[in-house]
């Protein structure tokens, strides 16, 4: 979870990218330093070799041996060799043989020999036909190369490690904050509209984003409350005059004789007003329940008692409608809940069942002890709710 989150984290990847770019830069820099230095040193050795060869050749076949001694004594890094045209060694201290080199007078790396120090060498034929080899010890150069390559590896490794560690370290905090934001937004989606995304006050991008989202949520919540209170207010505002209207109609109807058709008409008006009032009542009831929201009175309630009371309450109505109402109640089914709301909910279900099935039908209410807790059932043998409408019936105000 964390590792995949880490990898997807922008901070982590950005830090790694910077690390890689930096490491490449360092490598390039060191390579350049190395190339320049090594090139310079190599060229210096080359020039020294060529100058030495010229010097020796100029001394001619008679003096070259003496010159050898002087030169070897002067610069211990140099080794010299004089060979006959056929390749036999005449004088000198070099370990190289003419066959080891291209005798073209150009300095190059001497082939590696076990036990010998690395060197650069030049081989050529003298104007008088002998073979001259001038060799120079390049241990310094090789050591320098090793130092630079080592530095390259070490610094590269250190940068990579440092980059990784700082990428992880830098990402952990944002990741933790994002996790907190996710928890908050999950809670909001679950219906806790008063919840907001956490803001640390650091004013960084995440904070900015959280603040933008929170402002959006404020606005959404305000609109939601407005929409809700508009409906609620409307129902409230309309109910007073409607109640008065109903009272007046009722009063007017009572002033006519029992057989007067006008009385009949006014009675119908009163019935319509009653229907309207009932609708408003339901609207306000829903609003009141929503306002009650999370602070319902949760206590231990006996589902058995509720179902028994409901069965008792509705028995005469069911009998009147010619519907059989039965209750199946397990002893002592107790749950935690809001007793009044549960009673109202079950009564609504039973009321609906009685409303929508014909005489001769059967409605059953049960409170059943279940291995997982408790089950409350209201069932009837009426037409039921069509499959397609089932997700809709729990929505507000839906009517089939």
């Amino acid at each position: 979870m964390l590792s995949s989150g880490l990898w997807r984290s922008a901070t982590f990847r950005l830090t790694l990218l910077f690390g890689a770019v930096f490491a490449t830069g360092i490598a390039l820099l060191l390579s350049l330093v190395y190339a320049q230095t090594a090139g310079y040193l190599t060229r210096r050795v080359d020039r020294a070799l060529i100058a030495e060869a010229r010097l020796l050749e100029r001394s001619g076949p008679d003096f070259i041996i003496r010159r050898f001694r002087q030169e070897v004594a002067r610069d211990p890094l140099n080794s010299l060799g004089l060979f006959s045209a056929s390749g036999e060694k005449v004088a000198g201290d070099t370990g190289l043989r003419p066959s080891d080199l291209n005798l073209d007078g150009r300095p190059r790396d001497a082939p590696h020999r076990p036990g010998a120090a690395p060197s650069q060498a030049l081989g050529e034929r003298t104007p008088w036909g002998e073979i001259l080899i001038v060799e120079r010890d390049t241990r310094q150069l090789v050591a320098l190369r090793r130092i630079i390559v080592g530095a390259l590896w070490w610094s590269g490794g250190a940068i990579a490690l440092l980059g990784l560690v700082s990428a992880v370290a830098l990402s952990l905090r944002p990741l933790a904050r994002i996790a907190a934001m996710r928890r908050a937004s999950d809670a909001i989606s679950a219906g806790d509209f008063a919840r907001r995304l956490p803001v640390t006050g650091s004013g960084d991008e995440l904070d900015e984003l959280a603040q933008i989202t929170n402002r959006m949520m404020d606005e959404a919540e305000r609109l939601m409350i407005e929409a809700r209170t508009v409906g609620q207010g409307l129902a409230h505002e309309l109910r007073s005059p409607l109640t008065r209207l109903r009272a007046m109609l009722d009063h007017a109807g009572a002033s006519f004789g029992a057989d007067d058709p006008r009385r009949r008409l006014l009675e119908n008006c009163v019935a319509e007003a009653d229907t309207l009032l009932t609708r408003f009542q339901a609207l306000l009831r829903i609003a009141a329940l929503e306002a009650r929201g999370r602070r319902t009175a949760i206590e231990r309630v006996s589902l058995s008692d509720i179902v028994e009371q409901i069965a008792e309450l509705y028995a005469p109505l069911a009998a009147d409608l010619g519907i059989e109402l039965t209750a199946h109640v397990d002893e002592g089914v107790v749950i935690h809940g809001d007793g009044e709301l549960l009673f109202e909910a079950v009564s609504n279900l039973v009321d609906n069942a009685l409303k929508f099935i014909d005489a001769g039908g059967h409605v059953a209410v049960s409170a059943i002890r279940d291995p997982d807790g408790a089950r409350l059932e209201v069932s009837d043998d009426g037409p039921g709710i069509p499959e397609a409408e089932r997700p809709l019936v729990t929505k507000r105000f839906y009517r089939g």
Partner: protein, 236 residues
């Protein structure tokens, strides 16, 4: 209105209406005057509390939300002073918690705005009757009806009525308020203890079942339907 008059001397029952909404106050006054009440209306809480404290009223309707003194404060101050005039709290707040708070503060009943005037009137009348009646009485009698709450036996003309427990409770409610109109909401509240709209016919069928058992003994009707309002127990 002559306020200084002693309420005990007057033949008319007196109602104090503490209500800051003039239209509502006028409606209450009209309805209750029509029922033979003498109604005093006051708009602010201080004045209402002062008048209620004179203890010359039979009942008080009290708005829960007043601009100065809160309805809850008035109710609890009155009870603290030992004034037991029954109070009907009237509030725009329809919430279980609000109702519980109102009743706990000293309201004797609670009604939500907007309300049916007949519902309001019936509640005021029941409150007054309840205060005057001997509530501890375990034997009730009315006309040819008898109800023994200890033996849980009901009789009409000396003949046993076989009633279900809820029917007996319903009969008790009627017999404690004879001649009084009881609304469906009041019946549902007192007999079943729930406060929501149970739908129109639900209470009707229960009353009808009781009435049939009463009529089986003697066809002279006792439980009368009051159209558009509720029911009333009355011997003709």
């Amino acid at each position: 209105m002559d306020f200084a008059r002693n309420g005990g001397v007057s033949a008319l029952p007196k109602l104090l209406t503490i209500e800051d909404d003039a239209a509502t106050a006028a409606e209450i006054a009209r309805e209750m005057s029509g029922r033979g009440f003498e109604v005093d209306c006051v708009e602010d809480g201080e004045e209402g509390l002062r008048r209620a404290a004179t203890n010359t009223y039979d009942a008080i309707t009290l708005d829960r939300l007043l601009p100065d003194l809160d309805g809850l404060t008035i109710a609890s101050s009155l009870k603290e002073k030992g004034i037991l005039t029954p109070i009907l709290m009237i509030s725009a707040l329809d919430d279980v918690d609000e109702r519980v708070r109102g009743l706990r503060a000293g309201g004797d009943d609670y009604l939500t705005k907007p309300f049916d005037l007949k519902e309001m009137a019936a509640r005021v009348e029941v409150l007054i009757r309840r205060r005057n009646a001997d509530r501890k009485s375990l034997r009730l009698e009315y006309a040819d009806l008898e109800l023994d709450l200890v033996a849980q036996a009901a009789r009409r003309k000396g003949q046993d009525l076989r009633l279900f427990p809820k029917e007996r409770q319903l009969l008790e409610l009627f017999m404690r308020n004879p001649g009084q109109v009881l609304t469906r909401m009041m019946i549902f509240e007192s007999v079943w203890g729930y406060r929501f709209d149970p739908g129109t016919n639900l209470i009707d069928v229960h009353v009808r079942a009781l009435r049939q058992k009463l009529d089986a003994v003697d066809p002279a009707p006792l439980v009368h339907t009051v159209r558009g309002v509720g029911y009333c127990l009355r011997a003709e």
